[in-house]
């Protein structure tokens, strides 16, 4: 009776470890599988150092085709976890060879960290940038 309970504990522990490792590996593989837009860049980061916030980013389109920006995500590099994300109520239209300001208001760790910023287009591709704070 007692060894059976100990066995159940070990099985539960193994299940939790395997599930956590799989979830983290899935997350990393998802992030590395994102198709990055080669001709669109994040060219400016507006920070509010008093409130430790990423207020907005400027995105420049160097290509001859327009794009629609639908959502944004901020991943903390040290933990590999998406710490902030938002889906835009009204998507932003980014015309060819132009720059647009995208408000984000993402909270940053006041003690400091490095982040990847992903701005997703309606095609499923992403514009990637990175910042180190503070």
């Amino acid at each position: 009776m007692l060894p059976r309970r100990t066995f159940i504990i070990l099985v539960l522990l193994a299940v939790a470890v395997v599930a956590s490792v799989l979830a983290y590996s899935f997350l990393r593989s998802q992030e590395s599988a994102i198709a990055i837009e080669p001709s669109m860049n994040i060219t400016h980061y507006e920070l509010n150092r008093k409130t430790s916030e990423l207020v907005s980013v400027n995105i420049t389109n160097f290509s001859n085709s327009s794009a629609t920006l639908v959502s944004a995500k901020m991943v903390k590099i040290q933990s590999g976890i998406a710490v902030s994300s938002s889906t835009f109520q009204s998507p932003f239209s980014l015309a060819a060879n132009s720059t647009i300001r995208v408000p984000l208001n993402f909270k940053l760790d006041p003690e400091g960290a490095d982040y990847f910023i992903y701005i997703y287009t309606s095609k499923g591709t992403a514009i990637k940038g990175s910042i180190s704070y503070p």
């Binding site: 100990t6 956590s20 983290y24 903390k76 590099i77 976890i81």
Partner: protein, 263 residues
């Protein structure tokens, strides 16, 4: 030293633990030496001595277990006071090398201290204290660990200063296959704290039950009380394992960035 309420408590617990450990060590040594040759009358006197020792050791071990939990809270509170520290990695850098050894030790001291506490608990329930000699010896075996644990706490909190330190961003980059454990658990996926603590306690309880089983099989007088204790310990361990398994679901959702878990 960085004087805060928490570092002061850690330092006081360390010094207090050291003083009591030296007192208890001499008592335990005396009992271990005398018990084999003791007559009936001396045995009775040693039993009384043992009850005093047992009480002191309970105070020491419980204070060390409290210090083990407070260690993480204190380190977390030091992050804003150390320039460059973004997580506990930076705090450990500032208190290096004591901090790193102390961190490693803190992960398993509970397992060791709990063995003594659970054995003493069943020993107190049986007339004649059959584990008197064994528990005195186990305490002497635990002594180096106890001294190391206490001395490292005192050394770490006494020497940590607000120096500029490189933090985890120097080690854990975008290319690292594993995340910074401190950023991951303490800042970005705190539900994993519940998972780790629950499974840690579950494993500890199973280990303690194995120790109780070992000594219950050796001592016939302990059999009844021992089996009852094993049943309770394993049941509690199962409870914590189930709690850990339930907590792993929101923890994984937090990692995957499910809606409601991300700002």
């Amino acid at each position: 030293m960085i004087w805060t309420a928490l570092t002061t408590v850690m330092l006081v617990l360390g010094v207090f633990g050291l003083a009591l450990t030296f007192y208890a060590a001499t008592k335990a040594l005396g009992i271990t030496k005398k018990i084999a040759k003791a007559g009936m009358e001396e045995k009775y006197s040693l039993e009384k001595d043992y009850y005093l020792l047992s009480t002191v050791v309970w105070v020491i071990l419980l204070s060390r277990i409290v210090a083990s939990g407070m260690f993480w809270v204190t380190n977390e509170s030091l992050i804003p006071l150390i320039p460059g520290a973004m997580c506990q990695f930076g705090v450990s850098q500032a208190g290096s090398p004591y901090s790193w050894i102390d961190t490693g030790l803190k992960l398993f001291v509970l397992f060791a201290y709990g063995i003594w506490l659970s054995l003493d608990l069943i020993n107190r329930r049986v007339k004649g204290a059959p584990l008197l000699s064994t528990l005195s010896k186990i305490f002497l075996v635990l002594l180096p660990l106890l001294l190391l644990d206490t001395i490292l706490d005192v050394a770490f909190y006494y020497t940590v200063t607000p120096v500029v330190v490189p933090c985890c961003r120097t080690v854990f980059t975008a290319e690292s296959p594993v995340p910074c454990p401190y950023c991951f658990v303490f800042h970005d996926a705190p539900m994993f704290l519940v998972v780790i603590v629950s499974y840690g306690l579950s494993i500890a309880l199973v280990l303690w039950s194995l120790a109780v089983r070992h000594y219950s099989l050796k001592n016939k007088e302990l059999e009844g009380v021992g089996m009852d204790a094993i049943r309770k310990l394993v049941l509690l361990a199962l409870g914590f394992a189930i709690l850990g398994t339930i907590a792993v679901i929101p923890a994984i959702l937090q990692v995957l960035g499910a809606p409601g878990f991300v700002h």
